[in-house]
Amino acid sequence: MNLLERYSLPLLTKELIEQANNKRTFILRVVYAAVLYGAALWQYSDISNGGEAAGLVNLGKGRAFFQMLVTVQSFAIMFLLPAITCGALTVEKEKDTLALLLLTKLSSWTIVFEKLVSRVLAMGTYQLLSLPLFAIVYGMGGVELSGIIHAVVSLLALTVVVASVSILCSTWFRTTAEAFIMSYVILFVFGCSLAANIEYTRIHTLRMNQNRNYVTPFWQAFTAALSTDTAIAMQAFAFCLVCMLIASRFLFARAFVSPRNILLEIFQRADRFFNDLNTSTTGGIVLVPDRDTLPVFQPITWRETRKKSLGTFRYQFRILMFLLAPLVLVIAAILSEGRNDFTSPFRGFPAFFWFVSVICLTIHSTGVIPAERIRQTLDVLLVSPLTPSDIVLEKLSGVRRLIKILTVPFAVLVVFQAIWTGYVLQGATQTSYRSINFWLELVTASLVPLFYMPIIMWVGFQFGLRLRNQIQAILATFTAVVLACIIPFMIVPFILSLPFGLRYHSEISLFKWISPLQMAFPTTVFGPGYKLFEENTLLAWAVVVVHFTVYGTIWWWLRRNVLLAFSNVVRRMEPDSNNRLSGAKL
């Protein structure tokens, strides 16, 4: 056996061939390039003031461009890489092919290593797309070559770290869905710990007001560790090595574990915990018992709301408590302190509520039809005399109830924010609650959850209906939400500014208000259009009306589209299929 045969990496070769044969690889690459170059175009437009300041004037302005590039790439790695990596070993488990791999002469270490490298290489090809942009940045000036090298090394290190976490999850968990969710949870916890540390350092520094350079020991160590390229590379390598060792150690042990419904197990454990707590504190009082009845007229609704973990009232009530508890604590703290110098005491809560709401709604709505497909019960349901509308609307009854539950924290927030702004903060002047902006914000904040959440539900359901599995549907829904937020915010104003020669920072900025992001966070995503609203209240109301008319139409169209297309997608015969069949190519 020669050296080449001995180290031929057959699994890596197979993985790369599979990726090359998969249409999805190329679609993703094109989408990635579109997002990256779209963002670059927008940033360039912003730097060059809508194209008015071109040429030599832009020299030395590469830093903002560079920062944007690194940020977009970092988010892409965090968002995309777990999705393409978490299935590396779980797919083998799901297809019962991991046993065949383990029977070969490939060691556990080799299997994990080759799987990891195949994913890192795939992500590397995405990052190569940014090289021309880095060249432009360097050409514009404002960034040192060492800075660019530092960024490239950091991005590669991030890639290796994220891929290692995902491979570890893929080794440990039985299904791709579990590995997918846990990869994001772990990375989210990492990210939050980092953000919390930065925020803590900032607050602590401000409070101390003595030494502005004061930082926590952890942060000090962290920043020191990331100061040189070698240090970054070494740490990423060490982290990767540890993950690989753990993964190869557990690959065999976790290869044949039975599939588990982890969500259900968590809920069941929570059930036992809360029941014990309830028994020990109240003696077992149950305000809203789950009735164990049989279905009467709407069987699917009955199953969705009584038998599914995410649909039952008690579980949804716990989600409500999870969201409300921190808000209630903050409200109680503010009221007890009696301070009125907080201008924005609930900063962060809308983002937290939206984060949880989008995740819960996406997971629930995208899983409605795939769950039937996995259990092979969809056909059985389709041959019953229920109409397509009955099936779709009843299937979504659990999600609709979840929407009602998720609306409660938003309502509490809106009401308390209104009271706070109107009566506490500016009560002395007695002008705030009469001002148009006060009512504008109140109306907007009330309408936002009422419109956006059903839209997310219908988008998730559409993707769950049309795509092969729930993971793809979840990714597609998240992508749709992100695109809906950034397209009106970044790309549309830029595109419109080109042919009409409109000034970017004036009238054209009103298009930003089509973005849900701008409407959900009007004060934090502070656009130039906001000043226009302060001067022209009629325009502000017009923008709000147009926005919700647009999203109301989208909502109606999505609902109509699903109800009309359902039978066609699931291939169920309907009387009105006749027209379509006359054109069937046979």
Partner: protein, 310 residues
């Protein structure tokens, strides 16, 4: 009125033509067995009748109702058991049946009695409060049959109901289908367990590469294939002359001199088995074994098909 009337049915998946003009007429009360290799077009035909395949050409009717223009009414008349279980494992057997009773809009006043009846028929009364998840494969399949009986459909479409079941469960399933046959249900059943179909079906259709190769009663199929009957003979004093003489008998198409026997292929109708016996005896051969081969469905299937798929 025919229970099932299919005329020139064609189904295409992209470039693949799965069903190429099948015609099928099944009177009420018949049990029609659909036999064919994998990919022959059995499941596609059954799915068209179950209103689950809208893209087809030709006509398909159930109880005189057009599958194309009256699918909602057709669904009231059929009970479909797919080639997988199709059961909600998070429910009990009682909840599962009540779920479909509600889906089929059974009046509330009748539901409990109907559920009890179908459970008794399928011998699952003792499992009424068991989680579906905990039932054996055979029980799950019987539960699927209980489900399709809830709304008392005229036609049952069973796509390989015995697939994956152990011998005992298969026998139980066969007995259950016999009971349904006695109740006057029209049943279309596809299966790979060919000899079971022979015991159960009144008519057989053999399908290959999307075409119906043979169709008729079990006796008709046997008769049609009988022209190739084989008789196995063992004689104590076998000679080459005897073999040569056997080859000259009118109606004998082939004589195979094997180690332990002589296999004689005869054309039924031209030569009776009894005449062959008399001829051998007359030649002075001392017959140790004389065994006409019993024509079973598997032999018929193998003879009629070439093992191709659509």
């Amino acid at each position: 009125m025919l229970a099932v009337d299919v005329q020139e049915l064609k189904v295409r998946y992209g470039k693949l033509e799965a069903v190429k003009g099948i015609t099928l007429q099944i009177p009420p009360g018949e049990v029609f067995g659909f036999i064919g290799p994998n990919g022959a077009g059995k499941s596609s035909t059954i799915r068209v009748l179950a209103t689950l395949l809208p893209d087809f050409l030709g006509s398909a009717k159930i109880m005189d109702l057009s599958v194309r223009s009256q699918p909602q009414l057709v669904r009231e008349q059929i009970g479909y058991v797919p080639d997988f279980f199709g059961v909600y494992e998070d429910l009990t057997a009682r909840e599962y049946l009540h779920f479909f009773a509600a889906a089929y809009r059974l009046p509330m006043s009748r539901r409990k009695a109907v559920v009890d009846d179908v459970l008794q028929l399928t011998d699952l009364t003792g499992k009424i409060d068991s989680q579906v998840d905990a039932l054996s494969r055979g029980m799950k399949q019987r539960l699927s049959l209980a489900r399709v009986l809830l709304h008392d459909p005229a036609v049952l479409l069973l796509d390989e109901p015995a697939s994956g079941l152990d011998p005992r469960a298969r026998i139980e399933m066969r007995e259950l289908l016999k009971a349904l046959k006695e109740m006057g249900k029209t049943i279309i059943i596809s299966s790979h367990i060919l000899h079971e179909l022979a015991q159960l079906c009144t008519r057989i259709g053999i399908i290959e590469t999307g075409k119906m190769v043979a169709q008729g009663s079990v006796a008709e199929i046997y008769q049609r294939l009988g022209v190739l009957k084989i008789v196995h003979v063992q004689v104590a004093n076998q000679t080459p002359e005897l073999i040569a003489k056997l080859r000259t008998i009118p109606g004998v198409t082939h004589v195979d001199d094997q180690v332990d026997r002589i296999s004689i292929r005869i054309e039924e109708g031209k030569l009776e088995v009894e005449d062959l016996h008399d001829f051998i005896h007359a030649e002075g051969a001392r017959i140790r074994m004389f065994q006409p081969e019993v024509m079973d469905m598997e032999t018929a299937f193998m003879k009629l098909t070439e093992g191709q798929t659509a």
